[in-house]
Symmetry: C2
Subunit: 302 residues, 2 copies
């Protein structure tokens, strides 16, 4: 553990650069903070026989950052709690978390290491709400247009390809291994006036239903964009794509904001319906599927 | 999991009272934030055969809040990641975390629940640094007086009593089960000009050495206060007492601040020595013991 602690001091430098303190210090001028936590467990979220340990750290970190993105937030830093089996590669677990942070322009500011019978990584992300306030999950109103920031199902398809023997650097497998938290997109959508957002962590069917339920509205979806190599089932029930679902009253503002920023245009996927009992896709009842991690009896489309 | 999620929505209300968002929103006016994380694992930190599940949530939460206390911080909220075996009592795990927060006047603002082969609880605490800035671990200088906020070793003694068959509500067992994060004391010490602080999580011997190492100074300890029913070994190596070690240049200011606030007077335990190679207790070499959670070959005085 002392060896690991030494590694941790190297890999998890306090932001101040001073000797490790009990807590990280983050200086600034903040009026509205965001705080969230996500965890990834070996065997539940990441199949450790098929993926390197770093993927566990990477994916837990992306899941947390993606929660900030869904509120329109800016990431200020994350802290990482690693519970590691005695034979786990702690350096690689940490490196995965750090890689995910670097890719999003934030930093791992602190961490905790425990020995445990099962390896897991819990990541808490601290963020700052956008100037107009955090975008809530429940703000969608009847008539709002619905968008998604990218095609869906790539993660589930990549996992399937890996299970079928594809290499770790296969294009679709890489989509599964290295999801992108849509922080820029979330912040931009917030600034342009998005009424509600959620990230696609459990599949569009489940996450869109959550957004609708939070706002006590219904869904009229169509033309769900499916990632190359994926199926519509992957898009609806696969999850872990971490694209954002955006509800917006004035879609032209949203599209213009993304165009001005040079970001990929959000893809229209329908409208918010006034009746909370309505959840349709291309005119038919929207299936209620989604990835429930390790839940007994859960439907696991992957 | 849906049943558990429903329980989670009840037990982990977002601060806003609105439907669960992807992240908790904390409003205020902040210039210096503190962020830390701690975890407790069944079988490693809490003997689940001897203690109820709630103790795991309680103790992980206290460990995180105590880290804020050691910086002089004020707690703004915590997020709790629960990884739970299918047969774990998730409600009780959560209730423990909530109980620890309530006792400290803060709140659980968010959470995450995963199924896992081993039950663990990771708690991240967000805090605000005190007006004069966070008290760092490495600020002690030669000649500073050293104090501790209370007698030590009670936690280790209480664990031993429980292992020897004492009831859960035995006085010393309760000391072990319900440690108090010293947030008031830490804030007060910071305001009175403490030069360095650390919380006693792994035993005074190890934690005082850490404070000394961070400041590149030595230790001349004497008269370590031992909790009633505990031994000096418990105090030095037992850990999880969560009292604060405080270094202060002007002890009279510290003592006056605590007296004015009606808090138990900090107990003098020695002075900071200018030579980093010195670590003495009552004139003899300070033993290097402390509890390293589950470390192979670790000395476990408890």
């Amino acid at each position: 553990v002392e060896r690991i602690a030494a590694a941790l001091r190297v890999a998890f430098p306090q932001r101040s650069g001073e000797p490790l303190d009990d807590a990280a210090v983050i200086e600034g001028n903040f009026s509205s903070l965001l705080l969230c936590v996500d965890a990834a467990v070996e065997g539940v979220h990441v199949d450790v026989g098929r993926f390197p340990a770093g993927d566990l750290g990477f994916r837990a970190t992306v899941a947390a950052l993606s929660d900030l993105a869904a509120m329109g937030g800016r990431a200020l830093g994350v802290v990482v709690a690693i519970c590691a089996r005695a034979d786990a590669d702690v350096m690689e677990l940490e490196a995965g978390a750090i890689e995910a942070c670097v890719a999003s322009g934030c930093a791992v500011v602190g961490g905790n290491l425990s020995v445990a019978p099962t390896t897991s990584v819990a990541v808490s992300a601290l963020g700052e709400a956008p100037p107009g306030g955090a975008v809530r999950r429940g703000g969608a109103r009847a008539g709002d247009a619905l968008f998604v920031t990218g095609p869906l199902g790539g993660s589930a398809a990549g996992l399937r390809r890996r299970r079928d023997g594809a290499a770790l650097d296969d294009r679709l497998v890489a989509v599964h291994r290295r999801p992108v938290p849509r922080l820029h997109e979330g912040a931009l959508a917030a600034r342009s006036g998005a009424t509600a957002m959620i990230d696609v962590s459990d599949g569009l069917a489940r996450d869109a239903r959550r957004l609708a339920a939070a706002g006590e509205v219904g869904l009229e979806l169509r033309d769900v964009p499916v990632a190359e190599g994926a199926t519509l089932d992957d898009a609806l029930g696969g999850g872990e794509d971490y694209e954002l679902v955006i509800a917006h009253r004035e879609p032209a503002l949203l599209l213009a904001a993304f165009a001005d920023a040079g970001l990929r245009s959000p893809i229209a996927i329908g409208v918010v319906h006034g009746d909370p009992g309505v959840a349709r896709l291309d005119g038919s009842e929207l299936v209620d599927v989604g990835w429930r991690h390790g839940a007994p009896g859960a439907q696991e489309p992957r």
